[in-house]
Symmetry: C2
Subunit: 553 residues, 2 copies
């Protein structure tokens, strides 16, 4: 009869969970030893827990099923919390396994003892369980799997005491059934159709599972038939886009611009999305972005079948045979001269390969990425769903393991990259096809914008500015990458960047390209920004939109 | 009238809290802007929250007073949790400030919204408070300061919503009084004196505040007078040691050896220390290390005055005028030949400067550090109090800021160093006198030992072994250091290491020395280890002790 750990691994593998992103310690040694008893399980070692959890997030986004993690007690869970938060906010399934001391050791309050469950509740409000008996372990694991891949997906935390792991008498559990989404409510569909038909400006807001081809097509038919806009949530978990697919308009990060996008709306229809709110609060500004007088309707909750809901709405509106507007193929030209953040985005658009996985964690420097890649070949876009930076490099590890036949491009700012830079080592170790593009502008650039936006800029002096400045010393990411076994190039000319990207695309394995760029918004532009943002709602809309294109950070 | 953030900074500075280790985001921008209004506050930017919290820990250990942190919401707190855990277990005061969304933004469940308090309780069981009104903020901060520097010291978490920070009407609070330790209980002292006098083998176990010179001297007098041993907890927060001070015997990390150290004891007297338990649990082994028949006495709890307790005990035992045994001055010779972990420790002992701060996070490679530095010049030793790895480099940042006139040497294994390697950047930015020595043996070496110790070694195959192996690619720490602006040397010869250490000691600013070494315990030694450890209690004690010296990993 297998021990607890061996039975657990069998249960996971039987349920199709065959990748485990791990950073184990002593209390997980029996789980580690059991890996050799389960040939279906691939264990991927990460040098920091935030890499393991972010990889599990990226894996599930692309594989459409959860991976397991293996973390070491409360401190390991803490280290992994930020990327589990991103998974939670993105409704991404993760079977989060946290080793604990043996049950009889817990009361002794040894050095590593801490309250794991209290930490886990932050990211696993729906499922935290400590498995206290070897005989129950696999049933607990099956419950965790069911919870994780429920609708919506979630982070399910299974706490695994060492003695439950090493105990004899493990009883593998048959795979739990996959959940079926609830059918959309016919009454709600009809009411929404009536509201749209009643006139007044209406729009769809898609999120979650509604950003894949079938939902996008249904939404585009409705949009074409009714003259509606289709918005996408600010930070989509996984958005299919590119030539041949319907394009959607992402809600802007800056609340002032999002308000402009939504202004005049009378009906906003949510499809697996939240009603839009600003990312942060600002003094004297509303956090709720829904315009006054606009009614918010829910076509599909995250637990409901979004595609069925859109299909039903299309039928109710007689839009089933409408012709959706599809994105035309188009690529930007090859950039030249001194490298800027926009030219990096242009180069990516110029060279984007077929079926790439694009991960965007370049808050200010990636501004032009959407425009530059819109007409490129079909690709998936993964973004910072929970706003916890340090997501992209770990996400790239997971996405590359989920899709070994596709190229992964992770674009990330210097500040964000440093949170989980250890991911580079796992890329090298597993020889993953990842190209990490680091925008090095030696600044927490977005915070320079935010310092002004919250109205604190005028009060801040040199000490405040120093908190947002990454000079002295400037980071050398190429050197960091080489230290972890990843080929790296540093460039400050557009030609060199294009050549480096071409080489990286042509050569299997991981590559890092460090793009040395000036800040997207220099100090004088930043000073003007708050005034412009304040003025936007009072300007004629075409003027405001033209300005928006110029000033958006 | 100042805003909330300005009043908060004044309150902190008035209470003597004048260093803040920060990693801010948008919700902390008013705190950042207020830095320029408080000239006494030094803000030290860290590129990852685990660096900020570990620096606050190291600072407080050496400054004897707390620093503040500045973290960004629940995810920032998660990233900082592991080193706050080490501070909690080490009874180290930290005023842990976590920014939050504005109070009116919280109900909207924006991207970064999460339950901060639930995470904070893991490391701040004694004080978590969200300050909800600008007028109350400074009183809340004063309560946090009081809680943090209470006895025992603790991590006090103050959650600071953005609107409370930016709101007008901040009211600075006068500094709260410093806590006074409770007097030891005379009855307990007398009972302990009687127990010691009654005969039977007795020992003192010192921890916490009882590892500084006054307590060590009082304990050494008692030991000399009564023929008792003086033990020190496994992972001391701050231990003063070196020539001219009484030496104490640290309880071993390996439970089997600790049992040997404690065997035959009839009375164990705790002085600001916990009753000894094993670090981890092992199948079929007891976790409680107190031998059967031994009575555990508490001379001083962490809330009591340990020095007064030892002085009273010395008086009750007529030991006041006893002559304590002091460590004689002695240094090891200069090592030669191929570099090994032991030779690194020898070189450190050979060259240790006066009043160094030695930080030991080299679990297996640092084995010989204690022996090699025992007779060196007086120094402070900081260790991994909570067992959460990634402590030493951040601790070194804080210790160097607390004691700018002293050299800080941080010795750390390759695996541990990677958790918070971003600390190197702050060392460079602040030009700190830190020498980071990285033992690069390309292995989670301690886990190879633990895999065998938990009895899982025989079950593990190549997949298990791969989880403990840091080859493919081997990390190049010199390259990582240079990427963060720190001078670095890589060496595999003892002479080169000595020269590098001499250069680093003679040159201000941070240095990293990468010591390429074989594992301290090779595979054949590891196979023998479990058998030897099992045999220890059955061997004659001198034989066991001699063996222990040979086999200890």
């Amino acid at each position: 009869m297998p021990n607890g750990a061996q039975a657990l691994l069998q249960t996971l593998a039987d349920a199709g969970i065959d990748v485990c992103f791990s950073n184990p310690g002593t209390s997980e040694m029996h789980f580690v030893a059991a890996l050799d008893s389960e040939p279906r399980m691939r264990a991927v070692l990460c040098l920091f827990e935030g890499v393991a959890t972010g990889a599990a997030d990226g894996y599930a986004r692309m594989a459409g099923k959860p991976a397991a993690t293996l973390l070491h007690l409360g401190c390991g869970l803490g280290n992994g919390l930020a990327n589990l938060h991103n998974a939670r906010k993105g409704k991404v399934p993760v079977v989060n396994i946290v080793g604990d001391h043996a049950t009889f050791h817990v009361p002794l309050d040894a050095q590593l003892q801490s309250d794991i469950e209290t930490v886990a509740r932050n990211v696993s409000p729906g499922f935290v369980r400590t498995s206290n008996h070897t005989a129950d372990l696999c049933r607990d694991a099956a419950d965790a799997i069911t919870a994780a891949r429920g609708l919506p997906g979630q982070v399910a935390t299974l706490i695994l005491p060492a003695d439950v792991s090493w105990g004899d008498g493990g009883q593998p559990c048959p795979p739990p059934p996959l959940p079926a989404p609830a059918a959309p409510d016919d009454g709600a569909v009809q009411a929404i159709a009536d509201a749209i038909r009643s006139g007044g400006k209406a729009a769809l807001l898609l999120g979650g599972q509604a950003l894949r081809e079938p939902a996008l097509l249904a939404a585009a038919k409705i949009a074409a038939h009714c003259g509606m806009k289709v918005f996408c949530e600010v930070f989509p978990t996984r958005l299919e886009r590119g030539a041949g697919l319907p394009a959607v308009e992402r809600i802007a990060y800056l609340a002032e611009m999002a308000s402009l996008q939504l202004s005049g709306l009378q009906h906003l229809v949510l499809v697996d999305a939240k009603s839009p709110v600003s990312f942060f609060a600002y003094p004297g500004k509303a956090s709720d972005l829904v315009p006054t007088g606009c009614t918010v309707h829910t076509l599909a909750t995250p637990a409901q079948d979004a595609v069925a809901g859109l299909d039903k709405l299309a039928a109710a509106l007689d839009a089933t045979s409408a012709t959706p507007v599809l994105q035309a193929a188009a690529r930007p030209s090859r950039p030249r001269g001194r490298l800027t953040a926009a030219k990096v985005c242009k180069a990516v658009g110029h060279l984007l390969p077929e079926r790439a996985i694009l991960i965007d964690e370049a808050i200010t420097s990636g501004l032009m990425l959407g425009v530059m890649t819109a007409g490129g070949p079909r690709h998936d876009l993964l973004t910072l769903t929970g706003g916890a930076i340090g997501q992209s490099l770990p996400n790239a590890v997971g996405a590359a393991i989920a899709c070994p036949d596709r190229k992964v491009l992770a674009l990330v700012g210097d500040g964000s990259a440093m949170y989980t830079v250890q991911a580079l080592w796992t890329m090298a170790r597993e020889r993953l096809d990842v190209i990490a593009v680091i925008f090095n502008n030696a600044s927490y650039s977005v915070l320079n914008v935010e310092l002004d936006r919250v109205g604190a800029g005028s009060r801040g002096g040199p000490k405040a500015k120093a908190q947002l400045d990454l000079h002295g010393p400037v980071l050398d990411f190429a050197s960091l990458a080489r230290g972890m076994g990843v080929t790296a190039t540093r460039c400050d000319r557009a030609d060199a960047f294009c050549t480096a990207l071409e080489t990286a695309l042509a050569t299997p394995g991981p590559h890092l390209i460090e793009a040395v760029v000036p800040e997207s918004l220099n100090a004088s532009k930043r000073r003007v920004l708050p005034w412009l943002l304040r003025s936007l709602p009072n300007l004629p809309k075409p003027v405001a939109l033209a300005l928006k294109r110029k000033i958006a950070p």
